[in-house]
């Protein structure tokens, strides 16, 4: 091993790659734009949906109840519903979605209430249709309130306290720290994105530096220089690793930028849409945990870089290399997705499963849970796999049937 030669190769590959527009796009542009793009689209859509839903008070039709002006007046006064005059074809109108739901008031409803007799109000809706569901929910809320008011009036009449019909209430309280709340939703996605970017960032240079060189005929040129094959692999490996980590760093910087610059914007927009509660609902990530995720991603990047290099070297052309590596993206996505699934928890056995282990640990780390034995196990095993992959790459570069495949 000759450090100077490894550096020479690394420096040359770096310069070579930085002059390649495709690398710049895959290493810098895509990861930088990805995060703000995802956040932007999500915010845009949710704000739009919320605004629209609020703007559109569900149109409902009241059927019958001509002899019950009390309920009818209350319905008409309810701001969150637009009551249409009754029409004969109300069923077809609900089906045609021009009317979201219809409330059927039985005859003599007001009278029955006054006498304390049972009565049933019927809601007709279109099962499975989202906005019809909104209308039903709003109607139920309104009718529930109306019923409570009737109950209160009756209790007051008889001089009974409200606790007479509601002897106790039930409350839920959250003990998880705010990070944990964010952790489960976002915590699964962020490390997953890092894993994916760390893989895709290594993919293009791994192909270009191996199969691409064979195809362009520069592989033989470099092999007949005095550089040893070990130095050659290590130089190339360092380049692929740089691209992989560069991709992760770009996406991380972009994420931090998105949160610090875009965060207040998102809050103000969300605040405009739904005042108050939004700030608490926005997930917060433990920055220390995020840093730890990056530490775990490091051996992962080594593993991916060396593995991709080994496989791509086998191919004779860039196209062939692509056909080997593209399906691997699925292999990367599967365990990462499994890590996002609820209910899959990290244990000593899963800590040995590559990719899945990092994905699961990341979920815990960003939500502020530090389980040191597992983390050590994951870092250790991933480093071991990384070393194995690197050894494989060195072996492949020493196999002339791979280098000079016909």
């Amino acid at each position: 091993m000759n450090g100077r030669r490894i550096l020479t190769i690394y420096a040359k590959e770096l310069r070579d790659m930085l002059r390649d527009r495709r690398t710049l796009v895959s290493m810098i542009v895509i990861p930088t734009l990805l995060m703000p793009l995802i956040v932007g689209v999500v915010v845009f859509i949710s704000v739009k949906v919320i605004r629209q839903a609020r703007a559109e008070a569900p149109v409902v039709m009241v059927i019958g109840g001509d002899d019950s002006p009390g309920l009818r007046a209350a319905l008409g006064a309810h701001g969150r519903l637009r009551v249409m005059p009754a029409a004969e074809d109300w069923r077809t109108r609900v089906a045609a979605k021009t009317v979201r739901a219809a409330v059927e008031i039985p005859s003599g409803f007001d009278g029955a209430l006054a006498r304390g007799e049972p009565a049933t109000v019927k809601i007709h809706h279109y099962e499975g249709e989202l906005r019809s569901g909104f209308a039903v929910a709003e109607l139920q809320r309104f009718l529930g309130d109306y019923r409570e008011r009737v109950v209160s009036a009756r209790l007051a009449e008889r001089g009974l306290p409200a606790t007479f019909v509601k002897p106790f209430s039930v409350q839920t309280a959250n003990v998880a720290p705010p990070e944990k709340v964010g952790g489960n939703v976002v915590g699964g996605i962020i490390p997953y994105m890092f894993l994916l970017l760390c893989f895709t960032g290594a993919m293009y240079p791994a192909m270009d530096l191996t199969a691409g060189e064979k195809e362009r005929g520069t592989m033989e040129t470099i092999l007949c220089s005095p550089v040893s094959r070990l130095d050659l692999v290590l130089g190339k490996f360092l380049m692929v690793l740089t691209a992989s980590l560069g991709t992760v760093v770009c996406s991380l910087l972009s994420m931090v930028g998105t949160v610090t610059l875009g965060g207040p914007l998102v809050l103000s927009m969300a605040g405009a849409a739904r005042a108050g509660a939004s700030a608490a609902a926005l997930p917060t990530l433990d920055p220390l945990g995020l840093a730890a995720v990056l530490v775990l991603v490091l051996p992962m990047a080594v593993f991916f870089s060396a593995l991709l290099l080994s496989i791509a070297l086998f191919a004779k052309s860039f196209k062939e290399a692509q056909s080997y590596l593209s399906p691997l993206v699925i292999v990367i996505i599967l365990p990462a997705v499994a890590g996002v699934l609820p209910g899959v928890e990290l244990n000593a056995k899963l800590a040995l499963v590559p990719i899945l282990n990092v994905s699961l640990a990341s979920k815990e780390l960003v939500s502020g849970v530090w389980h040191w034995p597992h983390l050590a196990l994951i870092f250790g095993s991933t480093s071991l796999y990384a070393a194995g992959a690197l050894a494989l790459a060195v072996r492949m570069f020493n196999r002339e049937d791979v280098l000079f495949r016909t």
Partner: protein
């Protein structure tokens, strides 16, 4: 100096089984001499030269290049060899100067040496006009000059050429032939493979006729003419490899 002793290479191919690409080839090339390896496609020329350049490991026999054994000290061998083939391309995204600097560094040269050597080579090969332009924008002739400069950057005592004129036009091919002669004039040991009879006749001091991985005839052009009692190299070649004489082929 190059000495090959019973040099052999058998490829294991899944479809074709064992292929004896080179089978017990022995020869010797002295400094200041051009050895021409003449053979048809698939004769084993490229494999032989790749064995000498230590790109491949022999499966039998060995060779000594510039005093070093190809199996035991491959890096030492490569440090003393300039290898130019139709299949050795340039890095398209590097300039000619960067290419020379890269291979100079890989050969352990200092930056000052590289700069001086680049200057000298650029002068000899008339490369100044395009020294700082990227190789992917080069014409064939510019690429060729840069490739030649690349093989010469460390001034190796041994030069290996594998069909260097393949796919080149007449003018470009002449440049190469001229350059090979210059190598000989400077006392380098040169081995040159081709399937073109006229190139061998013009260029080579010793001719080895290779076919089916075996060296079937060897000698100076005069010696070959004398032993085959034939003036035309093509006729000598056909007799040596044991093909039916021209005109009879395909005529039962």
């Amino acid at each position: 100096m190059i000495v090959a002793r019973q040099l052999s290479k058998t490829f294991r191919d899944r479809k074709r089984g064992a292929i004896e690409a080179v089978a017990g080839v022995s020869f010797c090339v002295q400094p200041g001499q051009i050895y021409g390896l003449l053979g048809a496609n698939g004769a084993g020329k490229t494999t032989t030269l790749r064995l000498l350049a230590t790109l491949l490991q022999p499966t039998g026999g060995t060779a000594e290049v510039a005093g070093f054994d190809v199996t035991r000290e491959p890096a030492e061998v490569r440090a003393r060899v300039g290898f130019l083939a139709a299949s050795t391309a340039l890095y398209g995204r590097l300039t000619a100067r960067e290419t020379l600097a890269y291979f100079g560094r890989l050969n352990g040269m200092s930056d000052a040496d590289i700069a001086a050597r680049t200057q000298a080579l650029a002068h000899d090969l008339d490369m100044h006009a395009f020294l700082d332009r990227r190789c992917d924008k080069f014409s064939t002739g510019m690429k060729q000059k840069t490739s030649i400069a690349r093989t010469l950057i460390h001034d190796p005592p041994v030069m290996i050429f594998d069909e260097p004129t393949l796919g080149l036009d007449v003018m470009a091919a002449r440049t190469i032939v001229q350059f090979v002669r210059e190598c000989r004039a400077r006392g380098k040991t040169v081995i040159y493979s081709t399937h073109i009879m006229s190139e061998v006749e013009k260029l080579c001091d010793v001719i080895g006729i290779i076919h089916g991985g075996r060296l079937l005839a060897e000698g100076t052009l005069e010696a070959l003419r004398a032993s085959y009692r034939e003036h035309d190299l093509e006729e000598i070649f056909v007799q040596a490899v044991g093909l039916p004489p021209a005109g009879v082929a395909g005529n039962p």
